[in-house]
């Protein structure tokens, strides 16, 4: 398990100790998944959802949220009403 790759993809910065600790934990998880993979699932339909619910659609009707200011206040940084982030392109 490439812990560096996973942490990079998840944008998590890990200390050396954490890397070691999580590596071991991940290895166990992967081992367990390998065990699951050994189970014969021939002829069994995959399950995509365990709630048994389906569709759960809503009408295409506008509902105004009305408290956008609270969301904007929660941005880590703001400029005007934008979320302000580190520059992403040059």
């Amino acid at each position: 398990m490439d812990i560096e790759k996973v942490s990079k993809l998840a944008r998590l910065e890990l200390s050396e100790e954490e890397k070691e600790k999580f590596s071991k934990q991940f290895e166990n998880i992967m081992k367990w998944i390998d065990e699951l993979n050994e189970t014969n699932t021939d002829g069994i339909e995959p399950i995509f959802s365990i709630t048994g619910m389906e569709n759960n659609l809503r009408n295409d009707r506008e509902e105004f949220f009305g408290n956008r200011e609270r969301i904007i206040k929660n941005f880590p940084n703001r400029e005007y009403d934008f979320a302000k982030v580190k520059k992403v392109i040059e």
Binding site: S49, E54, L57, R58, E63, R68, D81, A83, K84, V85
Partner: protein
């Protein structure tokens, strides 16, 4: 060595719903104040749960039908994981293993371009890197667009030339607009196109290394970028260089593609079914009803017209390109079923009516109320079929009818444009003309068709332009 290119297209089309894909925020245009249409769902507040928009699901099914896809009654939303500031959840809700539509095709110039899949997903927000020409120190993000419903349409790599790609795009856009699911304005980002292109030695089966091109903002850009890229790849191959599997950006101002810096995007999306969203399970009946609601599609109508009226495909291109123009034409069909009159009507539509629509900048949707009265077009077409007006007279009639809003069948008399088919009257003029132009008549008899100029001229003058030139010629030949 001769090469051929292998082209596949990925299209994103923005659906014309009132609200977003998974929340009830209104879809607003790009001029709206930043973050004015946001809520806990589309900004990924903890605990907020997505709920799919039924209309968007129906539109996706419409698209599937129009593209001859099989519609999966059972389909699943999946998370596509990647980090980017315009995507607050850290994943985009899309569909992966079980998309809503699969295995369709579009027909272009008698060739089928297969559609691999069409699936529902949500748009990301918009990042602002500059205000006007002033570059910003930071990136500013607006989430108004975040969560807007999109359908991604993925073709198989069935196109072989940039022209085919262009035609595919044109046909696709026509269909999407026809079924009223998207406005497809590329400038507004309602239609986005990424292309995959590779080249291979002609006659071989194996695909070459493909390059993805992004940042294509118009159909022309797609064609230009493909032409450039095919040339670039061919030259590289001939020099023995390797073609890299990479993403390139089209620079329209320089007319070149450049490698996109890929440090931000790790192409490792770790898709998995979204546990927040139960699968879609659409009733067969609903899928069928949506199909019925579509009515006839342009390619079906086209085939019908060709069969029924014996018209050429190119002549019905325009009136089958938009449902507004088509219902304009159908109005005329409600007045007549006579082939000749229908052909004449088409001719008038393709030249004068379209000319008027373009000149007056009439919006498609306003054709019904603002375009020239279809009844007028029919009347002029009928006069033409009956040889009661010359083609020049017909043009004049059209202009006058628009100006005065008077019926052409009345105007034709008023303006003295009615052609006479009265043999005896015309014959009298022709005989006079021959008498006055003996030399010309002799030349004509000796095989010089052009010599009739002064004779026809005389007849026209005497008949005040009402003599049917065809009848004049017929009489002349018999003399």
């Amino acid at each position: 060595m001769e090469f051929e290119s292998v082209i596949g297209l990925e299209i994103h089309t923005q659906l014309k719903t009132q609200t977003k894909m998974f929340c009830s925020c209104k879809i607003v245009d790009s001029n709206s104040p930043a973050n004015s249409s946001i809520c806990p769902v589309c900004t990924a507040q903890p605990g907020a749960l997505p709920k799919p928009n039924e209309k968007a699901v129906e539109m996706a099914i419409k698209i599937g039908h129009a593209l001859n896809c099989s519609i999966n009654k059972f389909s699943v939303f999946a998370r596509k994981n990647y980090f980017y500031p315009d995507l607050p959840k850290g994943y985009q809700i899309s569909q992966y293993e079980l998309p809503i539509c699969e295995n369709g095709y579009i027909e272009i110039s008698n060739k089928k371009i297969r559609i691999k899949r069409a699936h529902l997903e949500e748009d990301a927000g918009k990042s602002l890197h500059a205000i006007g020409s002033e570059k910003l120190e930071h990136t500013l993000v607006d989430f108004n667009r975040c969560g807007v419903p999109l359908v991604e349409i993925v073709s198989e790599a069935d196109m072989r030339t940039p022209d085919e790609a262009y035609e595919y795009l044109t046909e696709l856009k026509k269909l999407l607009r026809w079924i009223d699911v998207s406005n497809c304005d590329m400038e507004k980002g309602e239609l986005r196109c990424d292309v995959n292109v590779s080249i291979r030695e002609k006659g071989t089966e194996k695909f070459g290394t493909k390059v993805e091109i992004k940042n294509l903002n118009s159909f022309k850009a797609v064609k230009d970028a493909l032409n450039y890229e095919i040339k670039r790849q061919t030259e590289a191959k001939l020099k023995g260089e390797n073609i890299e599997h990479e993403t390139r950006l089209w620079d329209a101002s320089k007319g070149i593609t450049v490698v996109m810096r890929t440090k931000e995007m790790a192409n490792d999306y770790r898709y998995f079914p979204d546990p927040d969203l139960p699968p879609l399970n659409i009733e067969e009946e609903k899928i069928e009803n949506i199909k019925k609601s579509l009515g006839k599609l342009p390619y079906q109508i086209k085939k019908e017209y060709v069969l029924k009226f014996g018209v050429k495909e190119e002549d019905i291109e325009t009136i089958t390109s938009s449902r507004y123009l088509n219902s304009y034409f159908e109005k005329i069909l409600s007045f007549t079923s006579e082939k000749e009159t229908i052909k004449n009507s088409l001719n008038i539509i393709n030249t004068q009516v379209l000319g008027y629509i373009n000149q007056q900048k009439i919006d498609e949707a306003d054709i019904e109320t603002k375009a020239p009265n279809p009844k007028f077009v029919f009347e002029i077409a009928k006069l033409l079929s009956a040889n009661e007006v010359s083609s020049a007279g017909a043009k004049k009639l059209f202009e006058e009818a628009i100006k005065t809003n008077e019926s052409p069948s009345i105007l034709v008399e008023k303006l003295g444009l009615k052609q006479t088919n009265d043999l005896s009257e015309i014959e009298k003029f022709v005989k006079e003309a021959v008498e006055l132009n003996k030399k010309a008549f002799e030349d004509f008899k000796n095989g010089n068709e052009k010599a009739t100029g002064p004779i026809v001229g005389y007849v026209m003058k005497q008949s005040k332009g009402r003599a049917n030139p065809k009848i004049v010629m017929d009489i002349l030949k018999k003399l």
